[in-house]
Symmetry: C2
Subunit: 250 residues, 2 copies
DNA sequence: ACCTGAACACCGTTCAAGT
DNA sequence: ACCTGAACACCGTTCAAGT
């Protein structure tokens, strides 16, 4: 009696797809679904309807399952989201093209990692929500950290500085993508060119007392295309992180 | 019949507290609540039960109101959250202590703004969730931006660079607080000292394939106290943002 | 072992009705 | 104008039961 949206493949369709990492086959009814298939459905939901739509019930729905059946695969919603994060982070390329341990090469490696992480986040809408809702402690998150730590060590930073620099990069990438996502949400289509928004008068929804912000108004649309300001920001951050010495400069 | 948790002041208690910005008094039953009182209740909920507990129904509950009565004050949940964000940002001190427009003074002003914003966010748990869930376009958000833009202009940056530098600082503060909050959530009490967590074996919850991360393991607990790494990161970011020239350095 | 159906305690929001 | 109560379409999660 519950309203079902869209066709499904048959409630008890036997799909006999056994994940090879699931352990030896056991008697009894087999899992009809792979973790990969569930994550696929979850990502489909994420990309088509946004992060809010990624619910246990929603994912179960697109798979033709009862919500409770989901709890055979994941102990709770958090574990499902963690699985999605892991698969997402697994897609960023961390292969060291050619291991020259020079400071210059270390810097470009950091930039590549940061840009790679940002790419996989911005190219599927809603992915930031995922990252912010889930602790980043899976193997793929740690692998990314490891690469950043190695690069900063190659650049000559001591362990404490390398650890803090890694954190700074992490913070910057996630913060930047979160901001872009928030802006995208309130003006879909994106301000790739100078786009003043839906007329300056119509945006005064709730804030009735007019206060003027000359600098902010003047700089609206200046250098705020997401990719450009991200690239610029990462380079400036690295300028600071890899500066030759912590002595005062004139 | 609905379960009410805790005492309340009487369902139809006339509180005759009229907000002075509400416009001239009108006939008919007065508002029994101020926007400020509603926000107060919302913040109480935020601080005691976390961001998840800040719901229209929850806030109505602590005020002794029906959920639907909330819609007389705010058109939807987003507007309520935006109101909270505005009040929060209003608490960061943006008074220019003494307007010396030197680059050195500009730098310390940026640091003070960043630290001030961080303070009001970390001192009430759950506030980050608020910031990340709401577009930062209210007057107080714009006022903060304005101060940052002015400081970067005083430091000698051209308008585009100042705009991007402002964005970088914004991104860094919010990203850092979001990370701290995520870490705090999974190990309350905080790793202020070297805290290896709940025994290295017990944390292997879902990730069964053991992969080793020598650098990450070695640097665990190194320089990761939140306040310290934030201060360090902001200084390094400013090193890069305020570097004398974009020419290559040896 | 995997799955269903009913149930519990929640959401945000709308609507008709009272004062 | 402000508020209530009922209702709609959702949540995450637990439990008893079927195969």
């Amino acid at each position: 009696m519950r309203p079902r949206s869209g066709r499904r493949v048959g409630r008890n369709a036997v799909r006999c797809v056994e994940s090879p990492t699931e352990g030896p086959m056991r008697p009894g009814p087999r899992r009809s679904l792979t973790h990969a298939e569930i994550l696929e459905a979850a990502f489909a939901l994420l990309e088509t309807k946004g992060f809010e739509a990624v619910s246990v019930r929603g994912v179960a729905g697109v798979l033709g399952l009862t919500p409770t059946a989901m709890y055979t695969y994941y102990p709770n919603k958090g574990a499902l989201l963690a699985g999605m994060v892991e698969q997402l982070l697994g897609r960023v390329d961390t292969s060291e093209a050619d291991g020259a341990a020079t400071p210059e090469h270390a810097r470009t490696r950091v930039v590549e990692l940061a840009q790679g992480l940002r790419s996989i986040l911005v190219e599927r809408p809603g992915a930031v929500g995922l990252l912010l809702a889930t602790p980043l402690d899976g193997p793929n998150a740690r692998r990314l950290d490891e690469r950043l730590l190695a690069a900063f060590a190659d650049a000559g930073l001591d362990p404490v500085a390398a650890s803090r620099a890694t954190h700074a990069v992490r913070v910057h990438v996630l913060g930047a993508v979160a901001f872009d996502a928030a802006e995208e949400e309130r003006s879909p289509g994106g301000p790739t060119a100078a786009d003043p928004g839906p007329a300056p008068a119509a945006s005064a929804t709730l804030w009735d007392d007019a206060e003027t912000f000359p600098l902010g108004d003047r700089s609206r649309g200046l250098g705020d295309d997401p990719a450009g300001r991200f690239a610029w920001g990462i380079e400036r951050l690295l300028d600071g992180l890899l500066a030759p010495a912590p002595i005062a400069r004139g």
